[in-house]
Symmetry: C2
Subunit: 393 residues, 2 copies
């Protein structure tokens, strides 16, 4: 007898979330025990509304576009499920002959994954998590699908902006990277450098208190030296009290809204140092960029989808697919996949370890660069560089 699969997407998209979905589909096609693969159209609440789209009905040439479609083709949500919601799920799954439930998402979604697993424990329904987040903040796994592409984007973009600022060295340029509590994306901007003097010239992570005076000191010194300075900062920089460095813009019933860290710091440089400064905040552009999708990330995301379905078919449940990095004799990059018990990853936020950050907390270490480099999937474009001749005569 054949069974159906249900794939649910949760939280903010990445450049390779659809690649994981494609991985599930290709594995399903290979497996005679699988009949339909349903997409939950619009995130976890689609389970309750039974909004299921049979994805294998579409021709392969169309499905292949999943690999180059950003965001999520089946939709996502930040819907908060209730205890009652979880209790109704087993009956819905059985109604649609769904034996394999795959949740693709970050920390919040892995929490949901664990709860659905608990709710379905008495039935022969297998619930497996596929990790996904640009923020790279999921526990245990070496890294998460989605991160490599966000890392490649920020590295490539910082390199390009670096060329711009070097060629017209009239300002300090502050680039804001996503990742409110974890600095992994911000840190990856260091991969822009081909030479030590290249941009980014300063990197500030949300894991360490931001000291305004030290920042201004560093910017001033670099501006005197280079003219143009490129600084990459996390959107979530905090002061020594752990409060956001940007004053709140205003408060609604539900949330506090802060201004942008990048424009706050650009204004600070202008006001305090009298140096021209500007801010760039690519924001969502960075997580949706297919031009800078990392081929390694795409492959791994696709693999995570395949492996999640395989694990479910093997009978595993209540696990998330994780990547374990292998030691290799020649130091080449290699990972293998393991099933990680979901309670080990639920709602735990993984941040940058101290060993990846320099002592002044304004740059990353070579160790971080070595760890991160394979994930961005190949080197960035070569540029011609006449900067040795810039100050001739």
């Amino acid at each position: 007898m054949a069974f159906n699969v249900l794939v649910i997407h949760g939280g903010g998209p990445t450049a390779v979330m659809n690649a994981s979905l494609y991985g599930v589909l290709e594995e399903a096609k290979r497996n005679k025990e699988i009949d339909k693969v349903y997409g939950a159209m619009g995130g976890s609440q689609a389970i309750l509304r039974e909004r299921f789209l049979d994805l294998l009905q579409f021709p392969e040439e169309k499905l292949k576009l999943l690999l180059q479609t950003p965001a999520t083709a089946i939709g996502s949500s930040r819907y908060a499920l209730t205890e009652e919601d979880y209790r109704t799920m087993p009956a819905i799954f059985k109604k649609y002959n769904i034996r394999y439930v795959l949740l693709n998402g970050g920390n919040g979604t892995m929490d949901t994954c664990g709860r659905i697993y608990q709710a379905c424990k008495e039935e022969d329904i297998r619930v497996v998590g596929i990790p996904k987040t640009i923020d790279n903040d999921i526990a245990i796994t070496d890294h998460t699908p989605g991160y490599g592409s966000a890392a490649r984007y920020i590295a490539a973009t910082t390199a390009e902006v670096g060329e711009d600022v070097k060629s017209l060295p009239i300002h300090v340029c502050i680039i804001e990277a996503m990742g409110r509590n974890a600095g992994w994306i911000t840190a990856a901007s260091a991969l822009a450098r081909k030479q030590p003097q290249d941009a980014p010239h300063l990197i500030y992570l949300p894991e360490y208190p931001f000291h305004e005076e030290e920042f201004l000191e560093d910017v001033k010194r670099l501006h005197e030296e280079k003219g143009g300075v490129v600084v990459v900062v996390s959107e979530g920089l905090k002061n020594e009290k752990g409060e956001p460095i940007v004053p709140p813009v205003f408060q609604t019933g539900r949330a506090t809204y802060y201004g942008d860290v990048s424009s706050h710091l650009a204004n600070l440089v202008i006001k305090r140092l009298g140096i021209k400064a500007r801010s760039e905040k690519p924001g969502i552009c960075g997580r949706a960029s297919i031009a800078w999708q990392s081929p390694v990330d795409q492959d791994e995301a696709r693999m995570a989808g395949r492996e999640a379905l395989k694990a479910a078919v093997r009978g595993e449940s209540g696990v998330m697919i994780g990547f374990i990095r292998d030691e290799t004799p020649d130091d080449s990059y290699q990972i293998h996949v393991e099933s990680i018990p979901i309670e080990r990853v639920m709602m735990y936020e993984r941040v940058m370890p101290d060993v990846y950050v320099n002592e002044r907390r304004n740059d990353v270490t070579e160790e971080f660069v070595k760890w991160c480099r394979p994930l961005i999937g190949g080197k960035l474009r070569d540029f011609i560089d006449f900067s040795d001749y810039y100050y001739m005569q």
Copy 2:
């Protein structure tokens, strides 16, 4: 007897400024009458400091990288030359056996070009302008090298952000495009659309007064309809009095600094409509992107470089190379090059004509799209689209 060429870059970089430089080099190599091609290292003040780098000394495989190097490899500036500066130039050119002076830049640089031409009129020195600006605001020419790539970037990015916002429709997303006085780049975001319902859903240009209440009305209606809304705005939006819509952040002796239009409008949406909103401001990332460099723009920029040198060798001076769009029987895209007297383009800013903008001034017309489409150099990526199924059952 052979003569030398001098190339000077002025103002803000583009993604194809170096492609024009490459065009000059390839034309120079073909011409036995040319000996050296000097780059003025660091913009117009490099003339006075005699900072000239002989570019033909580098091997072809290195020079070819100019086509994929953003910004300007020889450096640029916003240096304001004095009358005295202009008077000293003819002697410097003669000292270096420079007969051909090519200035690559926007409106300000074309002004400089005209003044150098005046200063060199009595000598056999030919001064020719190569147009360049992402803003597309140079007079007479159908469009400028640099614009097609900036247009391709904003169209592709808006399409990608559109997928993101469609798949997780929880907010209004305001994307800020460069172009303070001319809306050409902002308008090009319309090329993101494959279907009429696609992003961008609203477009606001700096040529027309921005009406806050109409904007809020439009956003509210679209949010009720779609959930996620994508708005593209020019960084230079002004109110009915012609003042920037963003209050000044502060004033220094030299300049007034304003906040970002995108975050200002996102805050307005949150405060006034109680709808979640966020802003993206790729800024310099958009003019430096090689991934989204338009192949048509690259070709044309290269051609402009070649044609500028050809014109100078022919004996022309005080002209700028311009593109004239040809009428073709099958409506296919074709341009030819003409030399435009520099006084006709000096310091004139070309803005969007009314015929390219809809009546409510919140979108462009089909006529604009038809004009712009060939410039971005081929279609954008195809995405898989299940949105017809989003609201199934």
